[in-house]
């Protein structure tokens, strides 16, 4: 049989190989590829051993740092939870919001109290307004909706992970299968597999001499996530004082900044009003369908709380939102049982605090916003 692949042991591979660019206007012949004369199976085996050793060392390094294997909070994981509404769980309690809703509401506690595990759709660094609109437009959703409000994200319309919605709508079969494989073969086993420990992220964090006006740091790893996006604070934040301080310092970079011009202030106000109107209109649609909705302002502390009080005063933000949406809201400052929790980096609770907080919050919601059909949240 004639082979098109040359693997001659006599002649070395040619220094130049002809291509179609060398043969104008003719039928192109079957290509020929040289296999360089090397013991390839042995080379591959050595490379595999080296890869295993280096990967093992990398994994050991990150575990020693405190990392634990967990599920990766990406668009595919979010889409898996969002699809539950389309596949028969539309009557569930759904949580949207930002990272505080993720960290502070513990799904196992909620499940123990209500008998049903909520669907966690809150997203780090992302205002939930667009997600409320998405649910309002989805007739498959008939359950109950908790909207977590982190003032600096919600009222500024900041949407770090806005792309999860288009991803969910257009996710390909290949992407779905890839996530399933990853959730079985990689994520539960390798602690280093986390965007926070990726090669370029690590390189970026080195002490480079920074250019004028640049140098803002990105938020560090704070969470550990389960397969259904139940999330709790990473133990390192509570046990490592230096790391905790680093997390606070990174938040604090957003607390200062030069005073805003009048034009900027006017633009901020326009954005704030747009966010409130957009959410209020979506909530009106939901309530018209008989879906109970509640806004929740989870606790923050320290300089973070001071920043929020200064830049997003309660009366001008939270108060306006509740009035325009004509919807009940639970603000942690109004309930003694929602105060006094451990918030190590001023924004998110420890796991132990989050468990107690979830139970307290659940009872308040049940009392304040009982579902009309007599079901439980």
């Amino acid at each position: 049989m004639h082979s098109f692949i040359s693997n001659s042991r006599v002649t070395a591979p040619a220094a130049r190989r002809l291509t179609a660019s060398d043969r104008p206007g003719v039928a192109q012949p079957v290509p020929v590829r040289d296999i360089p004369e090397q013991p390839w199976p042995r080379i591959m085996l050595t490379a595999l051993v080296l890869l295993s050793a280096l990967t093992g060392a990398w994994e050991w390094y990150w575990r020693d740092y405190g990392a634990v294997a967990a599920y990766r909070d990406d668009a595919a994981l979010w889409a898996r939870q969002r699809r539950r509404i389309d596949s028969g769980e539309g009557g569930a309690t759904v949580l949207v919001g930002s990272s505080r809703t993720l960290f502070d509401i513990q799904l196992p506690v909620w499940e123990r109290l209500s008998g049903r595990r909520p669907i966690q759709l809150a997203l780090d660094g992302t205002s939930p307004a667009s997600f409320v609109v998405d649910l309002a437009d989805d007739p498959a959703f008939t359950g109950r909706l908790l909207i977590g409000i982190a003032p600096d994200l919600f009222f500024s319309g900041f949407e770090y992970q806005r792309s999860v919605l288009p991803y969910y709508r257009k996710e390909s079969p290949s992407q779905r299968i890839g996530k399933v494989l990853s959730m079985h073969l990689i994520e539960p086993w390798f602690a280093f597999y986390d965007p926070d420990f990726a090669l370029f992220t690590v390189l970026r964090r080195q002490p480079w001499p920074e250019r004028a006006g640049l140098g803002g740091r990105s938020v560090r790893q704070l969470e550990v996530m389960d397969a259904d996006r139940n999330t709790h604070m990473w133990a390192k934040v509570t046990t490592d004082a230096a790391y905790r301080q680093l997390a606070r310092d990174i938040w604090a970079e957003d607390f200062g900044g030069p005073p805003e011009t009048d034009a900027q202030k006017a633009e901020d106000q326009r954005v704030l009003e747009r966010q409130i109107d957009k959410t209020a209109s979506a909530v009106a649609k939901l309530r018209a369908r008989g879906i109970p909705v509640v806004f929740v302002r989870d606790p923050s502390a320290g300089d973070y709380l001071a920043f929020e009080n200064r830049d997003f005063p309660r009366a001008a933000t939270w108060g306006v939102l509740l009035a325009k949406a004509a919807t009940p809201g639970i603000h942690f400052q109004d309930y003694p049982q929602l105060q006094g929790y451990d918030i190590p980096e001023w924004s998110h609770m420890t796991l132990e605090s989050a468990e107690r907080y979830t139970a307290a919050l659940y009872e308040i919601i049940e009392q304040k916003v009982p579902p009309p059909d007599g079901s439980r949240w």
Binding site: I5, P13, S21, A27, Q38, W40, P173, S174, G178, L214
Partner: protein, 471 residues
Amino acid sequence: MVFNTLTFMAFFATVLVLHSLPLPWTFRKVNLLIASYVFYAAWNPPFIFLLWISTIVDWYAAQGLVRAERIASRRAWMLLSVIANLGMLLYFKYGTFLLDNFTALMASMGVHYHAPKSDIVLPVGISFYTFATMSYTLDVYLRRALPARNFLDYALFVTFFPHLVAGPIMRPTELVPQFETPRRANRQQLCFGLGLMTLGLFNKVVLADTFLAGAAERIFDRGKAPGLLDAWTGTLAFSGQIFCDFAGYSTTAIGTALCLGFCMPDNFRFPYAAIGFSDFWRRWHITLSSWLRDYLYIPLGGNRHGPARTQIALMTTMLLGGLWHGANWTFVVWGGLHGTYLIAERRLRTSFRDYRPGRLGLFGMAVLTYFLVNITWVFFRAKDFSTAWTVLRGMSGFNTTAKPILPTVFIVSTGIVVGALVALHWYMRERTLESVVARVPEPVLAVAWGLMAFAIVISQGSGNAFIYFQF
């Protein structure tokens, strides 16, 4: 399905096992065909119908061409193939673009026409497989090749998953004969093929996505005016990214085919060492440039009818080549610039027929070529002309009040990666990867392979699609 995903790894492992089973050759080819359809459908199942339409139309067109005796009949069969393929391409790829331009044209004449909002999804790889199938009927029409002897071989030529969605754009004469006899890679070929796949994925995941994409995105997508350093860093980063992304895809595709016992042609030959633009186009996306040459430039007259016709043919080919990349005028300008460069080079060659540059002169010309190629990349990468001008102003030093955009790490990583890439291209200018690899000591190869694989693992690529998928 994208090469740099877990899904592909599982898919490929399955295909490899099935292909290695001691089954009849026809059965294994059917396996490959089904696998190729699965590969395509894994992105968006309904679009598999387009693939079937293209396959069936060209199969019957080629049969008709063989049976037809009159020139008019032959032309009709050829036109059927061209119209069917280009029709699909026009609708899916250029439909919205044409409608937008028509609306703008009407508006400029005072006619306010509001086109219905369209939401046409571009089927991945349509530009590649329509060109591949068209080359089949065109080769038969031009009497360069006979039609495939059986439909299975032909359908597999169109659909064979390594080249299906982003090339190399295969010609029927390159691939159909390979399906006629049983093929299975031996251990050497399999291991070297896996090595090529690792090299390709290293280019894509580590160099393009991890080290270069970020700088290009910050300069071209954030709407800020860049200063001199930022503008050049962003553009150079893109020049590296587009090469590593696309050459990475091609290398992975070649390695994938090799693991199955098939041969695919080179698509790149160290293009950033090109001296002049005709040299660049013999090194960059070779299978597209040679396709355009054989089926567009030469039929337009090529260089057979004097300098004026040659220049018109060149410019037309490059403008359409630009448009092939995307439905945007920025791509047309990109093609137009390359057409202008090629015409200018031809004129200079005629004017300085006896000039023989020394080594330094050649190096200078290579640097000039790379510089001018980078100018064209600005139009290729920018989403609109406003962004392109802003970046070009920055590259010319005119954005004097610009504030820094890129953190130091982006500048350093772009400098190192692109510097090393261009140096490597220069070293490899007259060599092939295989000729160099054959002389490298075994331990060095093993360590390099292991390190590349490790870098892929720790980069944690998120399965970003290859840039050329959008074309």
